[in-house]
Amino acid sequence: MRAFRIVIAGHGTLPAALLATAELVCGPIADITAVGLEPGESPDHYADALRAAIGRDHGLDREPGLGGRARRVLVLCDLLGGTPFNVASAIARRSPRVVCVSGMNLAIAVEAALADGDLDGALVERLLEVGRSGIVETERHRARRAS
């Protein structure tokens, strides 16, 4: 069972659509939220929404199994340098239990959703690898597979 929560952050309707599509692939996903940046929404307003989705360190988001520590949160962002990423990376720099990844895609979202256990360094590495390895062009991919 996955011990951490997931927040999908991005521009417009992409987070909600990515979440819906991930559920199409792997069925209903627990402990996951999508937070889209609306056109014209200020970074401060978006930061409030993202913080609410991540949950406070001293809020209700505590697991007895973790000795009362707040759960880790994986924030998946759509675009490096975009406002959702900038806001999430600022939160992650201040809160060690928050991990911020940019360049999310369906493969990363599914891998994260189906992950077991806690959000440790090895899982973060695996998510980055899964995200990158699915980016291919068929001819080059075929040539590489054949060699």
Binding site: P43, L79, G81, G82, T83, N86, R93
Partner: protein, 160 residues
């Protein structure tokens, strides 16, 4: 003259800047001039994280930014200069930075702010500062993304 874009944007680096403007201008460096960010190590670091690999981000206060912009204006490397407010650009201009055109790309709404065009709003002080820039010979135009047709301030500002 390599200051490809001098832009006023209260969000500094964000999606429109990294996904559209960097590519449209072939810029290889982002220079941020902002006193608050320059004097805050945390903000500096978050801004540095926002740029893609291979695009260095410099964060300067107004005094240091003026010196750096003059140097970069004379160099070949294409750069984007970002500031939060017209006041900063006016300070750069007065310090001798050659700015032919300033692009107003992001100025949010709020109490006491007048809507100039679509998502661009200004306070009375900011409007005065933009007019002063025009008086000094810098053209002020609104262009949110690279595909938008630039709209000159003069065409929107009846009080000028």
């Amino acid at each position: 003259m390599s200051l490809r874009l001098v832009r006023i944007d209260d969000r500094l680096i964000h999606g429109q800047v990294v996904a559209v403007w960097l590519r449209a201008l072939g810029a290889r460096r982002i220079v941020i001039v902002d006193d608050a960010s320059a004097h805050d190590e945390f903000l500096r670091e978050v801004l540095t994280l926002a740029a893609p690999q291979g695009v260095p981000v410099e964060v300067h206060d107004v005094a240091g930014g003026a010196v750096r912009c003059i140097e970069l204006a004379a160099a070949q490397e294409p750069v984007i200069v970002l500031a939060r407010s017209p006041r900063t650009i006016l300070s750069l201009r007065r310090a001798g930075v050659p700015i032919e055109v300033v692009d107003v790309g992001g100025m949010g709404s709020g109490p006491g702010r007048k809507r100039l065009h679509r998502t661009i709003s200004v306070s009375p002080d900011e409007l005065r500062e933009l007019r002063e820039l025009e008086r000094l010979g810098t053209r002020v135009q609104i262009q949110i993304v690279a595909d938008d047709r630039p709209i000159p301030l003069r065409s929107l500002d009846s009080g000028q």
